[in-house]
């Protein structure tokens, strides 16, 4: 007897952090610590505060992402530039980015903005956290050792500079788009952070063939996956005996004993270098 078994996808529970509260708190902090701070200030007063980038990120998503893209990589159609490597341009400073946000760019679509000084510095902090060039400084490991480790542990499933496997996402810009903490966590426990398009599934076809892979697309009647051999496969659900959605990423856990903190840092340092256009 053929049993049909289509367990429903478990829903992720909501766990968003109270970002607005963070912003408010920082605004209060700013008001207390920076009385009378002029916009001519040349040093980001929030530079040392790790919460500034996160708060700037939510401002960014609300106010800037429409033109510059959710990933800040720019939208060419409307000539909105890539903001992820601002600091790699000559003469660029925290203060010049501050001024551009404040004053806009006359003659272009980029308008002046009336953010408070604190908010503007938060945005500067956020943009700087995205910047591949400045990000690189956060990673102090051995990039060469990292490259070797990357080759043995990661390359089978991930690509850097168009080389490597396709089962997982490309990692060229990963250090620019995600925080160091998030990356460390994703490597230690991948199950908690599956990127869209990489959710694992296991199917059994009517003729008892089994495929495991990641879901690229799905509707009520069909399922499109990349299987573990990197073949794209489409199925009509009516042709399947079972579909098992898996909660854990296909990526194995890299515990501290399997991959020491030092070696994890080495891999991230290698990836940060790969993301830096100057290193190409």
């Amino acid at each position: 007897m053929i049993t049909r078994d289509f367990p429903r996808a478990p829903r992720k529970s909501g766990g968003t952090r109270p970002l607005q509260a963070t912003i408010l708190w920082l605004a209060v902090l700013g008001a207390l610590l920076l009385p009378g701070m002029a916009s001519a200030q040349t040093v980001n007063p929030l530079e040392a505060d790790p919460r500034a980038a996160a708060a700037g990120g939510s401002l960014y998503r609300a106010q800037c992402a429409t033109c510059h893209g959710a990933d800040a990589a720019g939208i060419q159609d409307i000539q909105a530039p890539d903001l992820t490597s601002l600091w790699s341009r000559p003469g660029r400073t925290d203060a010049s980015v501050f001024q551009t946000i404040r004053n806009g760019i006359p003659g272009s679509i980029m308008p002046p903005h009336s953010f408070t000084d604190t908010e503007t510095w938060m945005l500067v902090s956020y943009l700087k956290s995205l910047d591949a060039g400045s990000n690189r400084e956060q990673y102090a490991g051995d990039a060469e050792r990292g490259a070797e480790l990357y080759d043995s542990y990661c390359r089978r499933c991930h690509r850097v500079n168009s080389s490597g496997g396709s089962l997982g996402p490309a990692l060229d810009r990963i250090t620019a788009s995600r925080s160091k903490t998030a990356l460390q966590q994703a490597i230690r426990d991948p199950g908690t952070s599956m990127a869209r398009g990489y959710r694992p599934v296991r199917v059994v076809t009517g003729d008892r063939r089994q495929y495991r892979g990641t879901i690229k697309s799905e509707d009520a009647f069909s399922l499109q996956i990349m299987d573990e051999s990197e073949n794209l496969r489409g199925f009509r659900k009516s042709d399947l005996i079972s579909i098992q959605y898996e909660d854990r990423s296909l990526m194995p856990r890299f515990t501290p004993s399997a991959l020491s903190d030092g070696n994890l840092e080495n891999i991230l340092t290698f990836l940060a270098g790969a993301a830096d256009p100057a290193s190409h």
Binding site: Q76, D77, Q79, Y153, R156, R159, S162, G165, S166, L167, A170, K216, S217, E218, D219, F221, S222, Q224, M226, E228, S229, E230, N231, L232, R233, G234, F235, R236, P252, T255, S257, A258
Partner: protein
């Protein structure tokens, strides 16, 4: 202590070992279709690996599940919406099929990998195109991918050649073919050989100089370039004024795919109009190799032979057609031929080893010329000054024809039109079109037809007429069917022997520059056509 060590051992050695084993259990990665698979053409019924299905350009599939008897039951099984429109032109792609996945390019340099069972996309690609496209903005089309191994190849409206990873849609390399700001663009489906990707260029309406290029599939490095307009002093330059500036803007686009004979190792490619299109006074002479078919050595790009269909063209009758290769019995002897239904209104058969003309005969009512002289040159009766001649879109165009070997029929879409050309000296500037005049088309006198020609005589065997001049391509299947599309949006099936219409489906938008393709999937024959913003799959009802 021992316990502690064991624990450490487990973590230090066994865990990485497990990880390695995990990696090892992943099956060997798919390497994708090889050159031999493309060479085998239709041998594997589940594949369609190159623009025409095989290198011959015949677009004749051996599949026989859909027949003249059951084609009436043919019905759509899914539609894919591209989400992008094609201002002024058509959705011209031929998808490639491999292992249940379709790889299709779209207008405005979109591209997709699509599940052939459901029409759902695995991935989508969209190129960020610059805002100042030249030719690419007036014809924002693309005709399809080339494929080799895990790579796909696509040309772009800003005149680049891209290599994709077919599994992810990621760009592997990106090389510049020419400077789009001068007037160049690219729209064809790359022709992939064993170790080369062959592409051509659009832009003959601008002050450009056409070429055919070969690239290394792995690196994108250019291997050779054939210039379609000779340089000063080179062979062919005697057919132009002695002026390097005229040659440098001589046109001769190569914007439609070519075909390939692996035994002769020759590439066959059509060359476009000279520039300016309509104003010939600045370029007295035959203007080689405009409006010609060229045979190039695939290894070196050297010209082996050429045949010029329309010397000193004044009507924009590019010869950018799919050259159709066949081995047929010609006047009692086996002969390797190449066949072309030309924009100038003639059907041609040439010996493809030597370029010798075997047959040239009009397939429309054109008043431009009715016969060729002993040297294969058209005897021009009306250069446009004695009443109307076919319009600049021509008596047919790049929409692929089909050759049905068992019936010896060349089946193509014919356009009967009436146009008056008013030439005018253009100004030449980079990125500015230089047609050299205007054209008035008498729409009332236009119509289209699907025509089947006897390849031995060029005589019309049957036709099916359409209300307006048509741009739909043609495919035949060995079951005795012809599939074709028209300007009113119908996708249709005909009896190949008689031309009787057997089935039609209104797609909702004109079928323009697209031709059908077919393949087997789970034991079912699928037929595909691109139309408007949709790609539609057809099949017989499931039992």
């Amino acid at each position: 202590m021992i316990k502690r060590n064991l624990y450490t051992l487990t973590l230090r050695l066994i865990l990485p070992l497990c990880l390695m084993l995990f990696s090892a259990t992943l099956r060997a990665q798919s390497s994708g279709p090889t050159y031999n698979d493309i060479l085998a053409g239709f041998e594997n019924p589940e594949r369609w690996l190159t623009y025409s299905g095989d290198y011959s350009g015949r677009r004749h599939s051996p599949l026989t599940q859909i027949t003249p008897d059951n084609v009436r039951q043919l019905r759509p099984i899914w539609t894919f919406q591209t989400g992008t429109t094609t201002r002024g032109r058509g959705f011209e792609t031929t998808p490639l099929a491999d292992n249940g996945v379709l790889y299709a390019t779209g207008s405005n340099n979109y591209a997709w990998a699509i599940d052939a069972r459901s029409g759902r996309a695995f991935w989508q690609y969209r190129r960020n195109l610059p805002g100042d496209l030249t030719y690419g903005s007036s014809a924002p089309v693309n005709r399809g991918f080339g494929m080799l191994g895990n790579q796909l190849f696509m040309v772009t409206l800003d005149a680049h050649l891209l290599s994709f990873d077919r599994r992810t849609g990621e760009i592997l390399w990106d090389v510049v073919l020419a400077d789009y700001q001068q007037g160049y663009a690219a729209t064809l489906a790359p022709l992939v050989l064993e170790d080369k990707v062959i592409v051509g260029i659009s832009g003959g309406e601008y002050a450009t100089r056409g070429f055919i290029d070969a690239y290394n599939p792995e690196t994108g490095e250019r291997l050779w370039r054939f210039h379609t307009i000779p340089g000063p002093g080179e062979p062919g330059s005697e057919t132009w004024p002695d002026d390097p500036a005229v040659l440098a803007r001589g046109g001769g686009g190569t914007w439609m795919n070519g075909s390939y004979d692996p035994d002769l190792n020759l590439i066959y490619w059509g060359i476009g109009n000279p520039n300016p299109d309509y104003f010939g006074d600045l370029r007295p002479g035959d203007n080689l190799y405009s409006n010609s078919l060229v045979a190039l050595d695939a290894d070196t790009g050297e010209l082996r032979w050429h045949y010029q269909f329309t010397p000193h063209d004044l009507n924009d009758w590019d010869s950018n057609h799919m050259p159709v290769l066949a081995n047929i019995e010609w006047r009692g002897l086996p002969r390797k031929v190449v066949m072309v239904g030309n924009r100038n209104g003639f059907f041609y058969v040439l010996d493809r080893t030597t370029g010798a003309l075997l047959l040239g005969k009009p397939f429309t009512a054109t008043s431009w010329a009715r016969e060729l002289d002993a040297n294969g040159r058209p005897i021009v009766l009306n250069d446009g000054s004695k009443g109307c001649v076919p319009d600049p879109w021509g008596s047919t165009n790049f929409m692929p024809p089909s050759f049905y070997p068992e019936l010896d029929l060349f089946i193509l879409t014919a356009r009967e039109t009436c146009a008056t050309f008013v030439p005018e000296e253009p100004r030449f500037a980079p990125g500015q079109a230089s047609f050299g005049g205007v054209v008035f088309i008498d729409a009332d006198q236009g119509y289209g037809a699907l025509r089947a020609l006897d390849v031995h005589s060029g005589e019309l065997v049957w036709e099916f007429t359409y209300p307006s001049p048509t741009f739909g391509g043609v495919m035949t299947t060995a079951s005795g069917l012809v599939f074709a599309g028209d300007h009113e949006g119908n996708f249709m099936a005909f009896d190949a022997a008689t031309g009787q219409n057997l089935w039609h489906y209104q797609t909702g938008s004109r079928i323009w520059g697209a031709a059908p393709m077919t393949f087997m999937l789970d034991g079912r024959q699928i037929v595909m056509i691109a139309s408007g913003t949709t790609l539609t799959a057809f099949a017989l009802p499931e039992e």
